[in-house]
């Protein structure tokens, strides 16, 4: 079955700490991978995406993610978090040729302490 697993439900960090949020997917065929972020009271917005090419992709606000095909993973990283990164982060996958059927993980809530 197609699915996305996010390992951490809630992560609490102090400012300047490094962040890594895990994401594993199960999907037959070639995939497109996404990380979306939802800041408190706001809508889901795209942080970064991977379609092909360099498996290390850079997104907005200093975030990056690495696609490791052999591990079916697409972990999100940031070397130094800020209080403003407090949000919920969602990993999502879709297949090539999909009509927009994104499969989301349950999300990881990140709380950054000032």
């Amino acid at each position: 079955a197609q699915s996305v697993s996010q390992h951490n439900h809630h992560v609490i960090l102090s400012e300047a700490a490094s962040l890594e949020l895990g994401c594993n997917y199960s999907y037959g065929g070639t995939v497109n991978l996404f990380w979306y972020v939802q800041y408190p009271g706001q809508h889901l917005q795209l942080l970064l995406k991977y379609f092909s090419g360099d498996p290390l992709v850079k997104g907005i606000k200093g975030f990056e993610a690495e696609f490791i095909k052999s591990k079916f993973s697409f972990n999100l990283r940031k070397p130094s978090v800020q209080w403003s990164d407090t949000a919920e982060y969602f990993c999502a996958v879709t297949g090539r040729g999909s009509q927009g059927n994104l499969i989301f993980g349950k999300g990881t809530k990140l709380s950054v302490k000032p």
């Binding site: 979306y36 809508h43 969602f90 009509q99 927009g100 059927n101 994104l102 349950k106 999300g107």
Partner: protein, 114 residues
């Protein structure tokens, strides 16, 4: 910055009543979507819509659900006879390209069925 807008932000209805959730996608987008998130669960794909017809739908999107683009700007989700389990946050999204591209989400409409 253009955005997807949704109304109402919160609707409370009695079981068995019809509900229409409205969305105004970004004006030059061609692909439209509805997702939902039951409290504590994953964001789930419901349906995608292009060129005035459904492109893809999930198992959740049964005969109780319908979508329509009644004019050049609105995109609606109708639930014909609501059930308690329809209580969720419903997100509308739109994109320029098919599902491999970036989806722009609205802030959601919270539906509470009593």
């Amino acid at each position: 910055e253009p955005e997807v807008t949704q109304t109402p932000s919160h609707q409370v209805t009695q079981m068995g009543q019809e509900v229409i959730l409205r969305c105004v996608p970004i004006s030059n987008h061609l692909y439209f979507y509805w997702y939902r998130q039951i409290l504590g669960q994953k964001v789930e794909f419901l349906v995608s819509f292009y060129n005035n017809e459904i492109s893809e739908k999930s198992e959740i999107f049964d005969d109780q659900f319908s979508v329509e683009r009644p004019d050049g700007s609105n995109f609606t989700l109708k639930i014909r006879s609501t059930k308690l389990e329809d209580s969720a946050m419903y997100f509308c999204a739109s994109s320029v390209d098919r599902g491999a591209g970036e989806l722009f989400f609205g802030e959601g409409s919270r539906l509470t069925v009593l």
